[in-house]
């Protein structure tokens, strides 16, 4: 996989949580999508609006993003335990991708960590919901697991 470098940018024991998480796609990485995508994809693009799972803020309109599988490490969005470190997270492999940041209806970008910027909800600031590598201005990822489809 070409993305090992991406994951290394967050200095953390990145495999611990992923390994424990039963929902994790198996070791194969480029695996088949774990969910039924037929309702979510239409003409190769997202069939539904992509909104923040906490506050419903609109992130992407229907028909603007493509589905890709790519393993990306994202720090946890929710506090799961008192012991959780800020950089603990999980590998996620199902994403929507857009090629222009202005495609987003509403989204926030964090400061850059290494070459990564993390995407958050513009309204309630929950996140990361997605990821962007500043060295590739044509790819902005939103993790399916971190958003709602409406």
């Amino acid at each position: 996989m070409a993305d090992k470098g991406d994951q290394a940018k967050v200095a953390t024991p990145m495999d611990t949580d992923a390994a424990k998480d039963p929902n994790q796609v198996g070791g194969s990485g480029e695996a088949e999508p774990t969910r039924d995508m037929t309702e979510l994809i239409k003409d190769g693009k997202n069939a539904k609006s992509i909104v923040c799972e906490r506050c419903n803020s609109k992130i992407l309109l229907p028909g603007v993003a493509e589905f890709v599988t790519k393993e990306i490490f994202l720090p946890h969005m929710k506090k799961k335990s008192e012991q959780q470190k800020a950089t603990d997270g999980e590998n996620l492999s199902e994403h929507w991708v857009v090629s222009d940041m202005m495609t987003f209806e509403n989204v926030g970008f964090t400061n850059t960590v290494g070459t990564a910027k993390y995407l958050i909800c513009a309204d309630c600031e929950v996140g990361p919901v997605g990821w962007h590598d500043v060295t590739d201005k044509t790819k902005y990822f939103i993790a399916l697991d971190r958003v709602q489809h409406k």
Binding site: E105, T110, C124, E125
Partner: protein
């Protein structure tokens, strides 16, 4: 892919630290359920989409987080900005007094036709008002710019403020486009004048 919007406006939030610029746009939710990751690394900018007169407008909005002393903010920071929100905290007199310094800084470093607006923000809920609404209005009138009081925590007027600023930018653009569209030869003349001025200025410095 076809462009899905009509205008892109770049906006800045400016003001002393602690006035709630962070609240106006960058909330850093203290929600216990939120991970600490985002608040640790901080937010760079946001993209928001609004509609004005049937046109879709993208706003790209930056905060000055971490470099709030106006002396440290110079031309590079203002480059490309079409609108600036000047924010003070209504419970903090100093932040209000400093708006004048911020305006001076903008006049010195930003593009001359940047749209400005003053926001008196009430960041927390306790009422410790130190600056009356009238004072804010007077200051805005003095500089000929718009004024609004916002409560970022209660989301009062925050979106309205951004829409107002965007509307002013758009009106200015529309007027400019009308002017150049109506008198094409005039437009060319202006460019000629400008280039003459430039070479004249160069000549002077050589002497």
């Amino acid at each position: 892919m076809a462009k899905t919007y009509d205008f892109l406006f770049k906006l800045l939030l400016i003001g002393d630290s602690g006035v709630g610029k962070t609240c106006v746009l960058f909330r850093f939710s203290e929600d216990a359920f939120n991970s600490t990751f985002i608040s640790t690394i901080g937010i760079d900018f946001k993209i928001r989409t609004i509609e004005l007169d049937g046109k879709k407008i993208k706003l790209q909005i930056w905060d000055t987080a971490g470099q709030e002393r106006f002396r440290t903010i110079t031309t590079a920071y203002y480059r490309g900005a079409m609108g600036i929100m000047l924010v003070y905290d209504i419970t903090n007199q100093k932040s209000f007094d400093n708006i004048r310094n911020w305006i001076r800084n903008i006049e010195e470093h930003a593009s001359a036709d940047v749209e400005k607006m003053i926001l008196g923000n009430k960041c927390d809920m306790d009422d410790r008002r130190a600056v009356s609404k009238e004072k804010g209005e007077q200051l805005a009138i003095e500089y000929g710019i718009k004024f609004m009081e916002t409560s970022a925590k209660a989301s009062i007027n925050v979106e309205e403020a951004f829409v107002t600023l965007a509307r002013d930018i758009k009106s200015k653009m529309d007027r400019k486009m009308d002017a150049t569209g109506q008198q094409k030869s005039g437009g060319v003349k202006v460019t000629e004048k400008e280039s003459q001025k430039k070479s004249g200025w160069k000549f002077c410095t050589l002497l």
